[in-house]
Structure formats: structure tokens, C-alpha cells
Amino acid sequence: MTIFRRTLLDRRRALLWWALGFLALNLLTLSFFPTIRGQQDFDELVQQMPEALRAMFGMEQGISLASAAGYLWARLFSSLFTVLLVVYAIVGGAGLIGGSEEDGTLELLLANPVSRERVAIERALAFAAALAALTVVAALTLVALAPPFSALEGVNAGGLAVAFAGAFTLALLHGAVAFMGGAVSGRRGPGLAAGTVLAAGGFLAQGLLTAAGAPEWVSSLNPWYWYLKANLLAFGPRWEAVLPALVLAAAPVAAGVAVFRRRDLR
């Protein structure tokens, strides 16, 4: 596990900054909640918005945006928190093989008695661990900071846990796709592109398809839909918010490793 450990060590500084970023995001989001809490006009305003817009920002019929569950779901889980976690995963995933190969550092590492698959798999696992650690920090800081703002009132505890777990697996899936792009091409760019296309496409499609009244089976091709289709904080845990993305993430990693172990290095 030398490479696993080294990969985590290499990322520790960036991870710390990201953790501070999530702490700030949580604090900022929470601190605005008291001004919105219980405001009926706010809900009326939201009701007048087009449905596509509402869906895109995680505002659902029947869940008041002025409630803790409605507010946190719309402000964090349907938007910035999940999107930022996905961005972290894409940037990191693309760098694991593609980035280090582009920088030229991978070749010297591979002159050591290690197989390519070992390097790729240990790095991928280490990055999954870093992503998990970041998610846990975000969850813990939210739970620790929420009480003074009464921001967890009426929030389903199991649903909250699943909301974080689901954001993690969704980000993991995007990171895996970015990893595959980098591992197949030996460059960072294709990995970033693959992850970004999935993220932007999925996030936009989630709002637009729902609003356009697309059939359920079309929407359900989208990993973002699995996670976002109903407010986890209000309605409680759903298994499909976590598991499918986790299982599916293994496929791009396996494909990336399979190509990487045989191809020419750049």
C-alpha cells in the first residue's frame, strides 16, 4: 500500500484547503437560513417560478423552501455542495494517471518494481478515500454548525446521512469517468472533458427533463436524477440515491486500468 499512502500524502494539502472551503460553504449557507425561515412570501415567489428552474434548484412542490429540509436541499445538495464535490472528484480523477503522465513523473515511478495496474488501482483507491474524507468533513461541520441556526429542525436524520453518502457516490462516479479519460489517453484534458460532460449534461438534464415531462425511463438514465429526484432531507433515505452510482463507478475504473496496463506511455 506504499502508493496508496503516498497518494494520500501528496493530496493532504489540497484536501485541507477543500475541507476549509466546505466549512465556509456550510457556515455561509447556514447563516442565511434564519432570515428565510418561516417566510411565506418566499414560498409564494418560488411557486411562480417556471418548473424547470424549480427542478434545477431542487425546489419541490409541497416542500417549503423556508423549512430546513427544503432550504438545505435546495442550497446545498441540489447545488453548490454536490457540484463542488463533483468538481473535486473530476479534477483529482483526471490527474491520477493522465496528469502524472503528462507531467512526466509517472515514468520514473513505473521504473520501480511495481505493475501499472497496481499503481492505477492504489491511486484510485487512495483518491476514493480522500473524497470520502472530504465528504465526512463536510457532513460533520454541517451537523456541528447547524444547531445555533435551527437548521436541522424537521430534517430526516437518515435522509441527511444518505444525502451525503449519495453526493459522495455521485462524485465518485464522475471521478471514475475522469480517471478513465486520463488513464486511456495519458493526458489530463480528456479526463477533465469526460467528467465535465457527464456532470454538466447530467445536472442540466435533471432539471430540464423533469420540467419537459420526459418519461420516467429517460430521466432515470441520468445519475443526477437518481440522487436529486426527491428531497432526501424531507422524505428520508432512498437506496437508489447511493448504490447505483457506487456500483457503476467500478466500470470506468476497470476500463481505464485495462487500457492503461497495455498501452504505450506517452
Binding site: 502524472s100 515514468e107 520514473l108 518494481p113 505493475s115 501499472r116 506511455l265
Partner: protein
Amino acid sequence: MPDPAIETRGLTKRFGSLVAVDRLDLAVHRGEVFGFLGPNGAGKTTTIRLLLGFINPTAGSSLVLGRPGADPAARRRIGYLPADLAFDPRYTTSDLIEFFGSLRGGYDRPFTEALLERFALDPSRPVGDLSTGNRRKVGIVQAFMHRPDLYILDEPTSGLDPLLQQEFHRLVREEVARGATVFLSSHVLPEVEALASRVGILRRGRLVTVAAIDELRRKARQRIDIYTAGPPPRGLFERLPGVRAVSYHDGGVHLVVEGSVDAVIKAAAGLTVDRIHTPGQDLEELFLEYYQGGDA
């Protein structure tokens, strides 16, 4: 006799229409220093990347210490110093030594500490803050730290000052005395002359000669430019032994001589010589000229 340290059979690598390495048959014996010479772009680095399994051959095969280069069991016994050194700039030399040492299942600590001292390298500084020459030293330390059986060195002293080059040559000789094999790729003749016992010359991906270094020195051609006070008499040099090319101009004569230059110097003694210039200790020039005849 044991397997050769490096053996290639018909090793070929094409990149599109470019044949970077062309049907290379090579055997490097255990315990020797083999100089792998050729101009830039001849395919030396591509050959090394094939040997280490970084790229796959289009045809043919190679074995390193009896195994494919991609086999970790072979790599454990190889020290590799690439021509283009790229380190993660955040690592200190210590980080790198510990990391690679752990991957290699241990390394020779006293030897490595002595190396750091010998090359005056501060192991606690991030590699990104080091000068090119110091980064090259880090490359040397990481290649030698586990005292492998086979060294694969690609342009090892580029960027080192002459004093450090000498120190590096001493280090290589010590390791050879211990029984290590060295595959030394270079385009600089003096370095290869100083270390290698046998030499292979690569040109446009093809191995054109494998010879002992002494034999090569006899065969190598030299350029001699003789500058005279007046126009030199035509016909003076053409028939002398060893002279392969002559071109006269008003201020002297340019010669290409194979082997001994004795006859040329004696003939020139009859002229009023202002200056003698012998350019081209650089292999590229020397050998390109040498092989121009072979092309026609």
C-alpha cells in the same frame, strides 16, 4: 555463461510511418559497460523505453536480466536514470528516497547517505526548488540507491559540471568493479570513451556498428583544418594514407582523416602553418561524417 544482461531480437518500434527503432539485435554482457551511441533522434531513448516496457514493440522482443522489462522482478534489479528527469516538485529528496526505497523493498542506507554527501545534496529541500544540475544529482541518487545489478543511464551527465561528471564517472567505475552492468546511452563521445568497453552505434533506428572502443577509435575519422599563410599547393594531401576527403581554399585546407594523422602532419610541416583546428569531438558531427559515405 549466464544470460546477457540485455538482449534484443529484431526489436522494432514504428510511430506511424516513422521507424524509430529498426530490427535491433543487441546483447549486453553481464559486468560490462556498454556505450549506446548515436546522434539525437537516432532512437536511443526509444530503445530504452522499449527495454523497460514503457512502450510496446511493433515487432521483435527484448529481455532485461532474463525477463521482460515490465516484470517487477526485473525492475527491482535495475537502476534507471532518464534523460528527461521529471519529479513531483513537492517531494524532497528524502521523500523520494523513502518512497522509491519502499517500492523496491529496501535500499542501501549507508551507501545512499554517502552518495548525498558525495554530491553535496541537501535531502530536505523540495526537488522543485533545485537547479537543473541538482535535480540531475537527485536522479543519480535514486538510480543508485538500491545498488542494482543493471544500470540503464540515458545521457546521465547532461547538466552536470565537469567536476561532478568526474565524480559520476568514478561512481560508475566503482559499481562496475562491484560487478554491475551498465548500459550507457549518450551522444557525447568523451563520456563513452571514459567508461565503456564496448560500443554500439545507432543511426536512424538501426544499429550500424558494435565494436570495442579501441577498435572504434582506430576507425573514427577526424576533421583537420589547416590554415596556411598562403594558398596551399593542390595535390599535396590527396594521396596520403588515411586521407578520405580534401577541400582546398585560399587560406588553407580542410581534411577528413581516418586513423593515424601522422602522414598529414608531416606533409603539412613543409608549409607555413598559422593554425591547426580539429573540430568535432562531438559524436554527432564525427559519426555523421563517418557514415555519410555508407549512405551513398
